[in-house]
Symmetry: C2
């Protein structure tokens, strides 16, 4: 169980999905703007999440992503595992071959810790997170910011599109 911003991005994006479950599919464009993550990077993360059966995407206008399982069934640990696919930690990476094929001095310590972290993150589901008051608070703030953002931005993009011929993907 590795911990990196990659996993954090994935959890944040999945939480965004869970929060907007009622409103149909959510586009990555949306998430990219709200959570300030590069769109293409999100695409790469969602390819893995989809491969692991955590989300399903629908193409075309009105399309986007939605959870493939209920929010109760998706744990934070599952999300991180899906995205990180055990880029194992050089030595002590699971097997006990850290020291010439044998266990290194601190082998048990790290496996114990890994288990501890896993248990913690496996005990927290998207459903749990959605119902946390702090999360709801931040989510509402983002909702408002996004509206003022997109209403202003959309027209700018359309105009500059005609002038420069380029569309910015972020």
């Amino acid at each position: 169980m590795r911990l990196t911003t990659k996993g954090r991005y994935a959890v944040t994006a999945m939480l965004d999905l869970a929060l907007n479950q009622g409103k149909g599919a959510v586009t990555l464009q949306d998430i990219a703007l709200k959570q300030e993550i590069s769109l293409s990077y999100l695409e790469q993360l969602f390819a893995k999440l989809r491969g692991n059966g955590l989300v399903k995407g629908t193409r075309g206008p009105g399309g986007g992503y939605r959870l493939a399982q209920s929010a109760e069934a998706i744990s934070v640990a599952a999300i991180i595992t899906a995205v990180d696919e055990k880029a194992d930690m050089t030595r002590c990476g699971g097997e006990a071959n850290c020291q010439d094929g044998k266990k290194c001095l601190t082998h048990e310590l790290w496996t114990d810790l890994s288990l501890e972290i896993y248990k913690f993150l496996d005990g927290i589901t998207l459903f749990n997170l959605v119902n946390r008051p702090e999360v709801r608070e931040v989510a509402e703030r983002q909702e408002i910011e996004q509206q003022s953002h997109s209403s202003g931005l959309q027209s700018i993009v359309v105009e500059s599109d005609q002038l420069t011929g380029t569309t910015n993907r972020y």
Copy 2:
């Protein structure tokens, strides 16, 4: 609290020190051979450990490092913190300024987890580790391997020294 092989190296080395507390100072050369860590990298790690008051070094022949505090007083968390000096995790790195100066969606989740990990590692001291049977087992194996190693290696190094004019530092 970041988790990387860097911290693992540091804990392993410190544990080696704790295990050999009775026999006076331990040289980094020794640790490098036994734990298979590059000597110069160890030097860098020990510079930080020394700076954080966890070890003290004595120079010259017969010198080396020993613990600056009792094994009971040194927690694994303290070692990792000393060596990692909070290369903070891009966003959500302690302060709540992950989203335009405000908290991001999953801020609490990561701070909770960090605290959990810290508590776990802070509850384990070098003294605890030294007394674990698996650790003692591995330590004994290393003791034997080192003896056959050094008695064989020392003469080889001396001989090849005179022939090639080079000394390998590892």
